[in-house]
Amino acid sequence: MHGICKRFGATVALDNVNLDFERGEVHALVGENGSGKSTLMRVLSGAIKADAGTITFDGQPYSPHNPMDARRMGIAMIYQELALCPHLSTAENVLLGMELHSFGVIDRTTSRQRTEEALKLLGITNLNVDVPVSTLPIATRQLVEIARAVALDSKVVVLDEPTSSLTQADVEKLFEVVQILRDKGAAIVYISHFLDEIKRICDRMTVLRDGVNVGAAKVADVDTDTIVSMMVGRKIDTIYPRSERHPGEVLLEVKGLHGKKKPEDASLELRRGEVLGIAGLNGSGRTELMRCIFGLDSVKSGKIKIGTYEGTAKPAKRWNEGVGMLSEDRKLEGLALTMTIADNMTMTKLKPIISNVQQGEDAKQWIAKTGVKCRSPLQAVGELSGGNQQKVAIARLLYHDVDVLLLDEPTRGIDVGSKETIYALIDQLALQGKAVLMISSYLPELLGTCDRIAVMHKGNLGQTRLVAETDAEAIIREAAGA
């Protein structure tokens, strides 16, 4: 891959990236969330088109039109979220899109044989290929996906965070399979946050940071500290305003919180006038912690205390108690895109009979204060840019005048200008004596805006530390469990 560039609106996701993968190697691709790994792999697999750059595959220029094209040419992607049809059998899944048939009638015997051969190559012999894959455990389903790559005779296999939902024993099994594939002469691209795994099974590695290739090396030649510093490798600049803050009394107290899904054990104290950051990998349970506090996920045990109110509650009650939450997913959960800006901002505090004049005035006020660029408060939120949508979502919390703000990835996928506005807002809120709990995958942002940071690792929330007493490398190490 040579000189790959990709922009999304104002964001540069990939900037002139060069990369090469060789036959018979396991190549690690590392970088923080948002460093461009996934985008790069989506270019490789034909899911998106690069703006510039060329890819050469087996000596031939290669430009897939779509994922199926890429699969046919021998490039297979195995994503974090499994891409299997749960109602179809193993054999049907493995041969999906390239069924063996004559005049549309599937040749079941040959299909079964092909599937069993592929599985055998991976050292799996005792699997009934006729049962629906939904009856199989997660780890086996992943092997089925890899078998799909084998059946296609793929020359490049990309594994995107393959171990994030596996147990230790399953991870060992996966590693064996990866080694078998490598010995067969495939090039394997291994994306993972867990550095110990990379040390174990990868031969070479490439580090991406902010869409730039910052170096490649033989894994055997570098130690964990070097990898981490390559991943971080930047100084925290001045776009993060942080005034002198004086934390007051405790507003939110969480003790030994155990959610039905996640987290397993989380305790924290959030004070008036401070910003507390939660770092951690995707899927470590950060979002679920927030949802448990806000009453969107159910809680198994543990204590939640907000001001003088104790116990769990539904979102409606939380709003009344002065708690507001910003969802990490604007489109799915944050905003009602077909509704107007005014409706979205005032949704939590509507009067039984709405005065459109009053509602419009309120919305205008907060549009001005948060700098939303729009034609009028009656414009549909879906027509705005990502950054402006996010400002609307945050303005909802401000309009409601909450004391505790739960912000899940407040700056995900928005332009730099909007980010700065949001950082400034968070700082102002802390100065006004609000309490802010903030999740972010972008470490510089956490280090720049928060007073204290805690790290979530596999459902457990670590100790809270003052920002001055920690740094990016320590956080990455704690998040990766190294």
Binding site: F294, L296, K314, P315, A316, K317, R318, W319, N320, M325, S327, L332, E333, G334, L335, A336, L337, T338, M339, D343, M347, T348, L350, K351, P352, I353, I354, N356, R375, L378, A380, E383, R396
Partner: protein
């Protein structure tokens, strides 16, 4: 002007009006000369407003909220039977019969809403079930016959008022049923736009998860929408009774599809969050214009059915094209 064009709900209504004008002009040209007369307008209003129109009010709320109701026709038939039996066997006053009918509709709405929100079965399946169940119940209640009932003022709700008092001239333009529809439409449109409940309905249909995040009591809103719609179905049943002047368990067959078609032509999205009362009524009005025009041209019923079918698909396709352009 540009701003008006960018406002998608306004362009949608404008598009419907223009479409209606074309259809109307076509029939003016082709159909008998009295097609554009006041009389004919009154006939069309009497045909569409009381039954389809009132049911449309309820259906629009349900569809905006992201649901669907296939049991409309059955509920309407059930209500005609209830009213007829109340009048015939219990000799109640027309007011009580009216109330009984409307409450009966509301009850089935409650059943739909309760199963949808508590047992978490999707609305399509639940109302497909009640579509059969309620039709059966209506037949059982009527012993599979029509029920003749003593005549009362309920019979006059949908017929053209007579009398030439100048004072009443305006009132006498339309029968009571049409006025009830118009008043109901204004109220529901106002409710959807200007009350918390109405905005919650739109929010649940637009993005249920976001509504939940905002503390909207999602389940309660859905249940209330089905009950409200049920009450309108009850009212539509009353109008159906008034037109038939008897209770008929086989009445209003296929009404639900007409009503859904009107709502969809009117610009509502079956994914929820979009739609308007005025749009839905215009949709119903367009369909009536076509059927009246076709019959006055002496065309067979099959022509009208094919045209209506094509119009439904075209209306939604054009809407999609328009949105894609934006």
């Amino acid at each position: 002007m540009k701003n008006i064009l960018k406002n998608s709900s306004l362009t949608n209504l404008l598009g419907l009006v223009i479409a209606w004008c074309f259809i109307f002009a076509f029939f003016w040209w082709k159909a008998p000369p009295n097609f554009h007369s006041l009389d004919n307008f009154q006939t069309m209003a009497r045909q569409v407003m009381p039954i389809v129109g009132i049911a449309t009010l309820g259906m629009t709320c349900i569809i905006i909220c992201g649901g669907i109701d296939l049991s409309v026709g059955s509920v309407v038939a059930f209500v005609t039977v209830v009213i007829a039996r109340l009048l015939l066997q219990f000799h109640v006053s027309p007011w009580v019969a009216l109330l009984g009918g409307v409450v009966g509709g509301g009850l089935w709405g409650f059943v739909n809403g309760f199963i949808i929100t508590r047992l978490k079965v999707v609305p399509f399946i639940v109302t497909l079930g009640t579509y059969l169940f309620v039709r059966g119940a209506a037949k059982g209640l009527a012993n599979s016959r029509t029920i003749d009932s003593p005549s009362s003022w309920l019979n006059d709700l949908t017929s053209q008022p007579k009398g030439n008092h100048a004072w009443y001239a305006f009132w006498n333009l339309f029968p009571t049923g049409v006025w009830v529809t118009i008043v109901g439409a204004v109220l529901v449109a106002w409710m959807l736009k200007r009350t918390r409940f109405g905005r919650h309905i739109v929010a649940v249909g637009s993005n249920e998860q976001a509504a939940r995040l905002c503390g909207v009591p999602v389940e309660r809103v859905k249940l209330a929408v089905y009950v409200l719609a049920g009450l309108f179905m009850g009212l539509a049943g009353l109008m159906q009774y008034s037109r038939l002047t008897l209770g008929d368990p086989t009445a209003a067959d296929g009404l639900e599809l007409k009503v859904i078609a009107a709502v969809v032509i009117g610009g509502a999205s079956l994914n929820g969050g979009q739609g308007s009362i005025l749009g839905s009524l215009l949709g119903a009005w367009i369909m009536t214009t076509i059927s009246t025009g076709c019959s006055q041209m002496g065309l067979d019923n099959w022509v009208e059915q094919m045209i209506t079918g094509a119009i439904i698909v075209m209306a939604v396709a054009v809407d999609k094209l328009r949105l894609r352009r934006e």
